[in-house]
Amino acid sequence: MANANSNPAAAGVTPIGLRRRITDHVMTGLAVLTVILVLLPLIAIFGYLVYKGIGSINLAFLTQTPKPVGEAGGGMANAIVGSMLILAIASLLGVPLGIGAGIFLSEYGRNRYGDIVRFVSDVLNGVPSIVIGIVAYGLVVMRQKHFSALAGGVALAIMMVPTIARTTEQMLLLVPQAIREAAYGLGVSRWRTTLSITLRTATSGVITGVMLAFARVAGETAPLLFTAFGNQFWNLKPNQPTAALSLQIFTYAISPFDEWHRQAWAGALVLIILIVGAVAAVRIAVRHGTLAGA
């Protein structure tokens, strides 16, 4: 330690001075204070979500489409379904590509090309979601000449890929080389080994990574603003503008109507429950799916 000499503690055998002891206590106190200050908004956010949201979640909210301004009632059913549609499209596009890229990184990318892909996917992870929205707009909306669930799905898929690729890579690398060799030794080809042995062994980890990516994009709003756009009515067609829960929350939150504010809180609570629920459900399913002793 280069700085050991300047350390007052090195001064000698004298008992630790009062000032140093006080500093120690003060710093510990400050650290505890920061924890409290950080937990405060967390508690406040979840507290208000439940407090404001729970009263507005009812059957109508979950089964009806929005009512025009001024009319009470109505719900976000179309937005909930719209979100699922967009997320399904995103998963359909993003998950295979992400897992494929992850397989490349762990099984074929232990070299300079792999390093480039690794670095690029980490960089992609940091691209602001609104910028991804612009790209999906240019790729899909400009060509189709109208907004669509597909465009929203493309935007979210682009966001899922780097996360899935990197977690898949890590999970596959955790599978011991000996397991791969066991399969090679039986005359199993490399592709078959990768899919049926390596990926199979790492399934629960890979799924966790996918869910992480899913949870991350499930609440995204910015990239949907000018891709999925939103819709006051039912839509199940991938090439039409579609409502999404997060978009609806945004629209309602910045509106001047109390009734809509109430619904925005309810929507936010539903969104959080869906995200947490999806992650939890998959975790449980994965745990029960594996053999005893594995």
Binding site: N7, A44, I134, S189, A215, A253
Partner: protein, 349 residues
């Protein structure tokens, strides 16, 4: 490998404990006769080559995605770049009616709100990270890390919703009057307390980036070798001195990287900021005044941009935002990698 302990083997007198001959016939395996191999036919190499090519294509697609993003942004902003050149980033006039576009107010808003967020978030995140890794009892450690990471799972729009209805009124009624009376002379905290404005944006951004900074800092702190701590403690240091000299000093590069990653997230954050910053393209000195960021102007005006030049100007803002976040993120990655040796900062997701 050492065979010293073994008795010298003599082939003609093998008397090991488990010689095959001594085994009772009870356990002796009866090796079944072999039959003709069931697997017939030649193995083709084509599926293997095809699979490898497909996976390489997926890996390449990640790079291609980045290329696609750059391409879309460059093509889209072409018109605006030709019309305004570098002036685009120096002008503060944003007037769609007269087709005059200058991005300065947005750049200003993005930078100020992010810096404000860092000023608030850095001490808090570092405090939490230090507390969790160095001070807190092990039983509490898992719970606290889980709770701080839970903050990262909340969608941006939900932060915005909460900020509009809870944070902004609190700022308006309590925080802003207090800041105005105590620090009003700095002119940073002057003007009418709307609640909504730069300060609110900074605070909500701070809350959002705390989990990133603190979790990566935690990762970095945990890789500081134990002997660095023990070395300082052995000199008779107090716990705080041990943390300052033995831990923080060794993790400096990684912590700076974590902070820059937080900055990268703050720069591009859209929804929550859009909902509370006030969305007025003006450069005001007071933090109470409304502002506008690059991300929020995209969120608000992109779908309304009717003119080609208008749209192009917005895309150019997107390009600028993209380039800045790329540089910031790449820098941060390299700094974090230098400490954690290439393991990716996973908590980013």
């Amino acid at each position: 490998m050492s065979n010293q302990a073994l008795p010298r083997p003599r082939f003609n007198a093998p008397e090991p404990e488990h010689g095959p001959s001594e085994r009772g016939s009870k356990v002796a395996p009866k090796v079944e006769p072999r039959t003709a191999p069931l697997l017939q036919g030649k193995v083709s190499e084509i599926p293997d080559a095809f699979f490898a090519a497909a996976m390489r294509l997926c890996g390449f697609a990640v790079v291609a995605l980045l290329g696609l993003i750059v391409y879309q942004l460059v093509i889209g902003s072409h018109l605006s770049w030709h019309a305004f050149g570098w002036k685009f980033f120096g002008q503060s006039d944003w007037n769609p009616v007269e087709d005059q576009y200058g991005a300065l107010p947005f750049i200003y808003g993005t930078i100020i709100s992010s810096i404000l967020a860092l000023i608030i978030a850095v001490p808090l995140s570092l405090g939490v990270a230090v507390f969790i890794t160095e001070m807190c009892p092990v039983t509490l450690r898992g719970i606290l890390s889980f709770l701080t990471e839970l903050l990262a799972a909340i969608p941006s729009v939900v932060y915005g919703l909460w900020a509009i209805f809870i944070l902004v009124p609190v700022l308006r009624q309590y925080v802003q009057p207090f800041l105005a009376t105590t620090l009003g002379w700095t002119t940073l905290f002057s003007g009418p307390p709307y609640g909504i404005g730069m300060l609110a944006a900074g605070v909500i951004l701070a809350i959002m980036i705390i989990p990133i900074i603190s979790s990566i800092t935690r990762e970095v702190l945990t890789v500081v070798p134990q002997h660095q701590r023990e070395g300082v403690l052995a000199l008779g240091a107090t716990r705080w001195e041990m943390i300052r000299l033995g831990v923080l000093r060794n993790a400096r590069a990684g912590i700076v990287g974590a902070i820059i990653l937080g900055l990268g997230r703050a720069l591009g954050e859209t929804m929550a900021v859009t909902m509370v910053i006030g969305n007025r393209p003006e450069i005001a000195k007071s933090l109470f005044a409304p502002g506008y960021t690059m991300a929020s102007v995209l969120a608000n005006e992109f779908t309304e941009a009717t003119g080609d030049l208008y749209l192009s100007a917005l895309i150019e803002i997107g390009l600028a935002l993209f380039l800045v976040t790329i540089v910031v993120n790449a820098l941060a990655r390299l700094m974090v990698w230098s400490v954690t040796r290439g393991q990716p900062a996973r908590s980013l997701a």
